[in-house]
């Protein structure tokens, strides 16, 4: 018995050491490291680069620990990134609450745009303060991050085209089985996006008026420290709303399903699956992956931001050719940053492999 067990253990341990020759391939490696930890991983030399969202890109840039090899907006101009999603049954049973949340989202976006357009104003200072407190970074990092992303609630044709591109890519990569489309009742990727993106709530939201009373509670999930979701942070600020949050101003009391936020979009989609969240701010890729792979009954009701991610590398790396044989960290296969990495690797003729050790 022991001999069998010992052979199995040794065999398993040896399996990782054996593999095909990589001599003729141009390989770039990847490993999953959370954006908040990528800066230190690059500094330590554990990896040579990372793909991250804001404020972590700007944090590395201003800290001098990395340089941007390429911005996501240069690869996919105006690509969608984070979105506002809602539990579909909640949206159908409480359309009024969804519209009120979206009204606060719209107002927060407008407030941010106005504050950002007036440097030196009190609201500009407040904007940076709110961002710095939420992301645990300083004002300079927040200001730099603001310049690298576009906060926008609107969903246009380009937004839908971006989501189609993500879904197509996931199907091509095998991360979503083609059969899942029909299993969820969609005839094609186009049909999926047309139904998964529901703009009706956003269209009606602008006419929502402030409310003197709280109409209802909404369990609103979000990602930890992610400035792509700045509108939610601003909408929760009582100074911006004149003594109440913007959500309260429009009649909604938000409840935090996980105080401090979720570490990734997968966590938020799992919260939707477990009926622990009614609405949430998360990346569009996990919203697509979970809906198609596991049938989590959600819809996308607004955009949170476009662009705002980048491949950041050790300052010694000057171009993509220098990445040969090097390792790049991504937040994980369900992230838009991972897709970006796969895209640029393919464009530059790299074979992507998991970093061996």
């Amino acid at each position: 018995m022991f001999l069998v067990v010992a052979i199995v253990v040794i065999g398993i341990a040896a399996a990782g050491c054996l593999g095909p020759s990589e001599k003729t391939e141009k390989v770039v490696y990847w490993v999953t490291i959370a954006p908040k930890d990528q800066k230190v991983a690059i500094q330590r030399g554990d990896v040579d680069g990372g793909v991250s969202w804001e404020p972590y890109v700007s944090d590395s840039l201003l800290g001098g620990t990395g340089r941007v090899l390429e911005w996501s907006g240069d690869v996919w101009p105006n690509h969608p990134c984070c979105v506002v999603a809602a539990d579909k049954s909640f949206a159908q049973s409480h359309p009024n609450l969804v519209m009120r949340v979206l009204k606060a989202h719209i107002e927060a976006n407008r407030w941010i745009a106005d504050a950002w357009a007036h440097p030196g104003s009190a609201n500009y200072t407040l904007l940076l303060e709110i961002g710095a407190k939420f992301s645990n970074r300083n004002d300079s990092v927040v200001a730099a991050a603001m310049g690298h992303m576009t906060l926008d609630y609107r969903m246009n044709e380009q937004f839908s085209a971006g989501l189609k591109m993500f879904a197509d890519t996931y199907i091509t990569l095998g991360q979503i089985d083609q059969s899942k489309l029909s299993a969820r009742g969609y005839s094609s990727v186009n049909d999926f996006v047309a139904n998964y993106v529901d703009g009706s709530y956003l269209a009606s939201a602008d006419s929502v008026l402030p409310s003197d009373v709280i109409v209802g509670d909404v369990r609103l999930a979000y990602l930890t420290g992610d400035l792509h979701q700045f509108a939610r942070v601003v909408a929760e600020n009582r100074t911006v709303g004149g003594g109440q949050t913007l959500f309260e101003k429009f009649g909604v009391r938000t409840i935090d399903p996980l105080p401090g936020g979720y570490p990734n979009g997968g966590g938020i989609m799992t919260a939707f699956a477990g009926k622990a969240a009614d609405m949430g701010y998360l990346g569009s890729p996990p919203a697509i992956l979970f809906h198609l792979n596991s049938g989590v009954n959600t819809i996308i009701v607004a955009q949170a931001n476009s662009e705002g991610s980048a491949i950041i590398v050790n300052p010694s790396i000057q171009n993509y050719e220098d990445l040969e044989g090097k390792a790049v960290a991504t937040p994980g296969p369900s992230s838009i940053q991972h897709l970006l990495f796969l895209k640029v690797a393919e464009d530059h003729g790299f074979t992507v492999k998991l970093k061996p050790s």
Binding site: G16, A34, V47, N293, P333, S357
Partner: protein
Amino acid sequence: MKSNAFDRLRKLLSRDSERGLMKSAAIVFVSLVVFVLVWWALSSIFPSEYFPSPYKVGVALVDSFQNPDPNTGVTMWQHMSKSLVRFLWGFALAFVIALPLGLLMGFSNIVENFGRPIVEVFRPIPPMAWAPFFFVIVGVYWGPVMPVLLGVFFPVLSNVVFGVKSVDPLLLDVAKTQGADRLTLFKKVILPSAIPYLMTGIRIGLGIGWMCIVAAEMIVAFGGGVGLYISVMSQVGKWDYMFAGMVVIAALGILTVEISGYIERRVSKWMGMK
């Protein structure tokens, strides 16, 4: 010699022994069947997307070994090998530190009084709470190993200390009256007495160690790991594959406990305990 072996074999195959083995095997079989049936029943009650049936998980398990998963690009074999290597490192380091420290703490009141407050401060802290810290301090290779080290360390340490303190005073007195010095006392009486407790600590530590490796690999795992696999599958909503990863962890846990059981039997036999 031949006769002894024959006698042992005959004893092993004696009717009582055979009946006992058959009974045990039957109970294990029934237990597994009940487990699978309950799983099947629950998967039909809960949404099957999130609670896949044993069949779905089985299909995913086979696929994970046969084909590289599209997310990480490697097969379950590589994930298992990486996890196993990390686990063995963590276990070995914990063992090397905890055994002598536990013997010393059990043997010497001064060392115990010095070490216990520190141990008691750190013991209640879940090893996973340290994972981000270890990642930053010791890097991506040793980062996932360290929570395993902690997970194994405290059960081994506590059991060894307890084992040393549980030595029958009569044995100590007899050894002393026979003129045994402190070193002989330690080598001939205390150390052997602590072995069964050490083995208990190892068995407990093995279980905790696997819990730690999975969680640690969710933070970083060069080359893959079953923890990473489970994490990735949960992030992309492939629950049947996530369950397949959990089955693999269970199998690896059983594998390592079997090994420790074998070692325990050999050591006990060597020491004349059985």
